[in-house]
């Protein structure tokens, strides 16, 4: 290639250089340049001529106006510079001769201009004189006539001289002027003129001479010569140039022709050699391309010369880089990152430099990098991926068989064992050597019949695969379950040559399956919802109970997170805590509110457990939950019952107390005040009695409703007893607002209630206590309101009453009394009085009712009506009751020793005594201590005790009764008990309340009521006692009604114990007298 290139490259270069030289040789500055120079010369020539013309005119005094000459001078000045300035493209551009000529011409022109200026100045001087002389002559004429003609003659000669230029004239003029000036006597004025004339003419002549000389000088300036020399020199130069150009042109044409010929042959030569090279390259490329191997050739510098298509396919990422010229190190660097592993193909043979390249994509190349003769390198890559994969595959299969977790047994077509794998050895207990050549029968147990095996063989011989379960026997005799798949192996001719049995020991699997089945049954049938999620909380499975509880089927929730069950009733922190618990402790349980599919929210008891795999990573979460809606409801109900009145749904007493305490706390801290309104319905009892409980209940509900209407939402309304309501007004401005609320309530309750088709009128009394004015404690406040309510009731119905100073005094009084009462027991200030109860028929004193009296050291006698309720409230009643019981017993004993027999003592037992712990045990203890006969004791118990009606009360009574004590109901008729109701209690006596007896004579109703009570009690076997009998009429009447026993002032007031024997004597004596009288009367 270089041999061809060298002369070929050199020749055109030389030719081009030669042509350029020739071209430059003929290339004149170009026509324009020449034209410009010619123009310059022409213009200068023209201006030069014009200047000459103007100067001639001026010197001949034919031109007075210098504008034209000035203009011409200026133009010449403007362009003469171009003659000697190198930039103008003339001077210094051509040759020295021309430059000399240019300078010479330039100098001449400049000289001319300078001379022209002098001529202009001098001409002006001449003109000046010529202009002035006529004026001078005119001036002289006026002063001198004589010389005038002479002067005119001189002047005329002067002007002739100027026109015709005669030196003779000039001489004559000088002579005449001399003559004129030499006249000796001349007047002074004339002298001035003559002198002036002389001066002007002489200077004029002189100027004229100078001007002529200047003109001669001007004309002598060789500008024309200089110009023609310049011109001819330039023309000569041009001619030479043109001739030279022509010669060069001829030469150029010749050279070009030769060059073109040479170029043509060179191109043909190049074409041919290029073709040959191309053919060689194509053959080489085809050869390389046809290789299966990747091939790349590098020259001695390491640059890629060529590579084949395979190379690109072997290394596809190199496709863009594989341009010829790329360095092999660059390619290596590009290939290297893709190589997974590189190793020597034959590590044992140091002469073999082949390598094994394993790429990341799994392909494996055998690579060789061999040096070439010229110092380059040849890369060859053979793809051995396939054969290596095959080898690996075979090895892998063999290993798979060896390490298979299932047993593999291969037999020949006759069933003779040719191979068993280690697993089969392990399971069967037979070693490989023991079974080779044997028949699989050695594994058999008796579990399967011969027919089973025959069927199997039939199946196998027909070429089908057989699947089934064997119960086989190990070498040591153990039985085991094996799932087997036996299939035939065929050769290339499709003939069966072997059988292969793949068997799996399924003993444990069978066991696990059983367990799984059980677990699944639990999962399916349990009533608890179960939800299983994966580690990312996506639901995997739910059980039917889940679907039942939540409404979601598995398909609806699979893949979602349990978040969709969230009710938003729990805060985010709740869940955070739950997750914390789950991650730290692995499980969490608690109550949680969730949402069903139908959006309803329900409580559930949820247990979540984390299931971890053997690595301790979370695998699943299992959530088990029960719907605790019902339990919650029950709890709520219990809560409701404990705190709310079942009938009106209003808070009950205990709830009220809590609310009250809270309200008082708030009021205390807020420095506000509260009012407590104690509302008691008037006439409610009557309604309840006359119209039944159903109406009463309905009425209470309506009352509750009206109370709610009259109060604010913030106010608390509570029902604390049958017809007692409490209204708590919090944060009131003044007692006025409490009063107005109370009045509104009264007004609203006063209007009729519509109940079961009837109009019912009730009313209400309200007591009001204020916090903090009236009490500081909740209990006290309630008590004060209660007290105020009682006062309101006393003042008449439908009233409200504030707790006031008077009541405060009462309370104070009561407190003092309480103090005194506590001391009284210890100080023995009590005394028992006894009132006789007399048999109405016999007049005998059958019983004495013990009545306690208190001798207060300062107050004197205190009424039982005053201190008994106080004792009951304060609990002192227990102590007092026991004191009464004990002393009554002792007094009875005393009387019995005094000879008063067949008499009983009636002792009052307060209902609160039962609550305070008085019972049969305590009674027996006292009876035994005092040694009285229990049959001589009557315990009088108030009706309210029986109202309770509880089984505990009945038991209490029965136990007392069992001691042998008689039981009486005191104040019968004031409560709500009916007679039939009494049957349930072990009662011996009834004591009719004194209220009935008082009105007996006046009130028909009471009379008939008493009559009915007596009749009823007789029919029930009860003894009847009438209290408060004070008159004979009452006695007679009761007698007529066969009332059994009479008690009252009619017979005796209560008396101290010591007066009792005398009182009995007197009464019985009176009775005997009366009987006697009667007898007498009868007799």
């Amino acid at each position: 290639m270089m041999r061809i290139l060298n002369p070929a490259a050199l020749f055109p270069l030389l030719a081009i250089a030669f042509i350029s030289i020739l071209f430059l040789g003929i290339y004149d500055d170009d026509a324009r340049q020449n034209k410009r120079r010619a123009n310059l010369l022409l213009e200068l020539k023209e201006l030069d001529g014009r200047l000459d013309r103007e100067i001639l005119l001026i010197t001949s005094l034919r031109q007075q106006n210098y504008d034209d000459v000035t203009r011409t001078s200026l133009q010449i000045n403007r362009i003469t510079a171009n003659l000697i300035q190198p930039e103008a493209g003339f001077y210094g551009q051509l040759n020295g001769t021309i430059d000399d000529k240019l300078s010479a011409y330039h100098k001449a022109i400049e000289h001319k201009i300078r001379e022209a200026e002098r001529i202009k100045t001098m001409a002006a001087v001449v003109r000046n004189g010529l202009n002035y002389l006529p004026q001078l002559i005119e001036d002289m004429r006026q002063s001198s006539r004589e010389e005038h003609d002479q002067i005119v003659a001189i002047t005329n000669r002067l002007y002739r001289h100027y026109i015709f230029h005669s030196s003779l004239d000039a001489d004559d003029i000088s002579a005449e002027i001399d003559q004129l000036t030499n006249v000796p006597e001349i007047e002074s004025e004339l002298l001035f003129f003559i002198n002036n004339l002389n001066l002007h003419i002489r200077s004029n002549l002189q100027a004229q001479q100078t001007l002529l000389k200047l003109r001669a000088d001007y004309l002598a300036i060789p500008s024309a010569t200089a110009f023609s020399e310049l011109l001819s020199t330039y023309q000569h130069y041009r001619e030479t140039e043109i001739q030279r150009g022509e010669r060069f042109s001829m030469l150029l044409i010749a050279v070009c022709a030769v060059l073109l010929f040479g170029l043509g042959s060179l191109i043909r030569k190049l074409e041919r050699s290029h073709q040959a090279t191309e053919n060689a390259r194509a053959r080489l490329r085809d050869g390389v391309e046809s290789l299966n191997e990747a091939f790349a050739l590098f020259d001695h510098t390491g640059a890629l010369v060529l590579c084949n298509e395979q190379f690109t396919q072997f290394y596809p990422w190199l496709e863009d880089s594989l341009a010829p010229g790329i360095h092999r190190d660059t390619l290596s660097a590009l290939i290297q990152p893709h190589i997974d592993q590189e190793q020597a193909a034959s590590p044992d043979d140091p002469n073999n430099t082949h390598k094994l390249e394993t790429l990341h994509d799994g392909r494996c190349f055998l690579s060789s990098e061999t040096p070439t003769a010229e110092g380059g390198e040849v890369w060859v890559r053979i793809d051995i991926t396939h054969s290596r994969d095959n080898e690996l595959e075979l090895r892998k299969r063999s290993r798979a068989l060896e390490q298979s977790p299932v047993s593999v047994v291969i037999t020949d077509i006759n069933g003779t064992i040719e191979y068993i794998n280690p697993k089969a050895e392990e399971i069967s207990g037979y070693s490989h050597d023991e079974v080779i050549g044997a028949n699989p029968r050695i594994f058999r147990s008796d579990h399967h019949s011969e027919e089973d095996y025959q069927q199997m063989w039939q199946c196998l011989r027909s070429g089908q695969e057989w699947q089934g379960i064997f119960r086989n026997r190990r070498k040591n005799g153990e039985l085991y379950w094996e799932a087997a798949t036996i299939s035939s192996i065929r050769n290339d001719a499709h003939q069966i040559t072997h059988y292969v049995a793949v068997k799996d020991d399924i003993s444990t699997r069978k066991q696990a399956e059983d367990e799984l089945r059980m677990n699944a049954a639990v999962f399916e049938t349990t009533s608890e919802g179960i939800l299983i999620t994966d580690a990312k909380s996506r639901i995997i499975s739910v059980n039917p109970a889940f679907t039942r509880i939540t409404g979601y089927s598995l398909d609806e929730v699979r893949g979602k997170t349990p978040r969709l069950l969230r009710s938003e009733r729990q805060s985010e922190s709740f869940y955070k805590e739950m997750w914390h618990c789950l991650t730290t402790q692995g499980q969490w349980s608690g109550e949680i509110w969730n949402k069903r599919k139908d959006e309803s929210i329900y409580p559930q008891w949820l247990s979540v457990s984390v299931i971890k795999n053997s690595q301790g990573l979370v695998q699943q979460y299992v959530a088990v939950f029960t719907d605790i809606t019902q339990r919650k409801q029950q709890e709520h109900q219990i809560q409701q019952q404990a705190n709310y009145d079942a009938l009106t749904k209003l808070p009950n007493r205990s709830m009220l107390k809590r609310k009250l305490q809270k309200a008082l706390f708030n009021a205390r801290s807020g420095m506000s005040q509260c009012a407590l309104l104690f509302v008691d319905l008037d006439r409610f009892k009557a309604v309840n009695d006359t119209m039944g409980h159903a109406v009463g209940d309905e009425l209470l509900q309506q009352v509750a409703f009206r109370l709610a209407e009259q109060t604010k939402v913030a106010d608390t309304i509570a029902r604390i007893g049958g017809d007692e309501f409490i209204i708590l007004l919090e944060d009131i401005d003044s007692e006025k607002s409490a009063a107005s609320t109370a009045q509104r309530i009264i007004d609203s309750l006063r209007s009729p209630f519509r109940l079961f088709g009837r109009e019912i009128y009730i009313g209400a009394s309200i007591g009001i206590a204020l916090f903090p004015a009236d009490a500081a404690e909740a209990d006290v406040l309630l008590r004060h309101a209660d007290m105020a309510m009682y006062k309101a009731k006393e003042r008449g119905r439908n009233q409200y009453q504030f707790f006031n100073a008077e009541m405060r005094d009462q309370v104070k009084n009561r407190t003092e009394l309480e103090q005194a009462l506590r001391l009284a027991i210890n100080n023995n200030e009590f005394e028992l009085y006894y009132q006789p109860i007399i048999n109405s028929e016999t007049g005998r004193v059958e019983s004495l009712e013990a009545l306690v009296r208190w001798h207060h050291p300062k107050r004197g006698m205190v009424s039982p009506a005053e201190f008994i309720p106080l004792a009951e409230e304060t609990g002192l009643i227990q102590q007092l009751g026991l004191w009464v019981f004990e002393h009554s017993c002792r007094q009875l004993k005393t009387w019995q020793t005094q000879g008063i027999r067949n008499i009983t003592v009636a002792i009052n037992i307060s209902s609160s005594q039962r609550h305070l712990g008085f019972n049969a045990k305590r009674a027996r203890q006292l009876i035994e201590e005092t040694g009285v006969n229990p049959g001589d004791l009557v315990l009088e118990i108030t009706e309210s005790m029986f109202l309770d009606g509880s089984s505990e009360a009945i038991t209490w009574l029965n136990e007392l009764k069992a001691l042998g004590i008689q039981l009486a109901i005191d104040d019968f008729g004031t409560g709500y008990s009916s007679l039939s109701y009494l049957k349930r209690f072990p009662i011996d006596k009834l004591k009719i309340d004194r209220a009935f007896i008082n009105d007996l004579s006046e009130d028909e109703d009471d009379a008939s009521l008493v009559k009915a009570i007596i009749a009823m009690s007789h029919s029930m076997g009860l003894t009847l006692v009438a209290e408060g009998v004070e008159t004979q009429e009452q006695l007679d009447y009761l007698r007529s009604l066969r009332c059994d026993l009479i008690q009252g002032y009619f017979y005796s007031r209560p008396l101290p114990a010591e007066q009792i024997p005398e009182m009995i004597d007197n009464l019985e004596y009176r009775q005997r007298e009366a009987s006697a009288a009667q007898c007498d009367f009868i007799i």
Binding site: D67, K120, T121, A124, G129, P134, Q135, N196
Partner: protein
């Protein structure tokens, strides 16, 4: 309507006829050493004229921004400052009397001694003269380049933008526009016999017969040649009378050529605006025009002339004043 149109047309034709019949002189120029200033001005770029005018009035051309061209060449008042010598920066006094810029384009050289070939070259003089503007071209170019509006205007007109050449060219272009036309004398030359008063005609005749016209000829009535100050009478008596030393300025063209022949050789000044440009002569030592005429007669003619004649000549000189928009009549 048709009537009115006819009337207008008639009026127009009559005016046209009058216009042509009343200008008989238009074609017959009087043959005199003085020629009229051409009525049609040289074609100049109006933008360059405007830019030149702005620069002409721009004091930034002086080193301390106090002196502009217009400071000494007051356009409304004859194109000079009417001072004996001009005041430059810091109140410095110049060496020569400022000639008028009006019609300066007609001068064959510039300055009294003709040291500048043309107006462009003339601009260099006052810029560099330490008692005039006292500046340098780089300084002026740099100062003007700060002015963005000016930069823009130069950019529009000159490829090179602001440079000493473009500044000179703009100013020179403006100065070329300062041509006073249609002077009464020009009208007279063009044939209007009524343009001059008899006194002015008498003055012109005297102007010629005293020989003044020998030098003060051409369109500019001077300005196209050099002449010796004291052509006939020895000028030393002038300097003696003036007093003070003879200064280099008094030597005239000698300063340029160094040729002893050229001592006291000066460019002949134009008399076009002579009546407006007192004081007179290169040294501005003569305040009145009549006195100047008298001195001219003395030194250029060698005699005294009657006052009546100087007055007549002065009358004639008044007829030389042409018109220009910037010049107050």
């Amino acid at each position: 309507m048709p009537l009115r149109s006819h009337t207008l047309l008639l009026l127009f034709l009559v005016s046209l006829t009058l216009l042509y019949t009343t200008k008989p002189y238009a074609t017959e120029l009087r043959s005199e050493p003085i020629s009229p200033i051409p009525l049609s001005a040289q074609a100049l770029s109006s933008k360059k004229v405007a830019l030149g005018e702005q620069l002409f009035h721009d004091p930034r051309l002086s080193s301390n921004n106090t002196v502009s061209c217009a400071s000494c060449h007051n356009l409304s008042n004859g194109g000079t400052d009417n001072r004996q010598v001009s005041l430059g920066i810091h109140g410095a006094s110049g060496a020569a009397n400022a000639p008028t810029v009006y019609n300066s384009a007609f001068n064959f050289t510039q300055f009294w001694d003709g040291r500048a070939q043309d107006l462009q070259a003339q601009v260099n003089g006052p810029i560099h003269n330490p008692v005039e503007m006292g500046s340098t071209w780089p300084e002026v170019v740099e100062k003007l380049s700060q002015d963005s509006a000016l930069l823009h205007r130069f950019g529009e007109l000159y490829e090179e933008g602001i440079s000493e050449h473009s500044i000179r060219d703009a100013i020179a272009t403006f100065e070329k526009s300062l041509v006073t036309t249609d002077a009464p004398f020009d009208r007279w030359l063009r044939g209007d016999a009524q343009a001059l008063s008899p006194e002015q005609v008498r003055g012109y005749k005297l102007f010629k017969s005293y020989g003044c016209v020998s030098c003060h000829q051409g369109a500019n009535v001077g300005g196209n040649m050099f002449a010796y100050f004291g052509a006939v009478e020895d000028i030393s008596s002038y300097f003696q009378a003036r007093g003070g030393r003879i200064t280099p300025t008094d030597l005239g063209r000698f300063n340029v050529t160094g040729d002893p022949q050229d001592k006291h050789l000066f460019k002949v000044p134009s008399l076009r605006l002579a009546v407006k440009t007192a004081p007179y002569f290169h040294d501005g030592s003569v305040a009145s025009l009549q006195h100047a005429i008298r001195l001219m007669a003395r030194y250029q003619l060698g005699r005294d002339i009657p006052d009546a004649h100087t007055a007549a000549i002065e009358h004639f000189l008044h007829s030389l004043v042409g018109q220009h928009p910037r010049l107050q009549p």
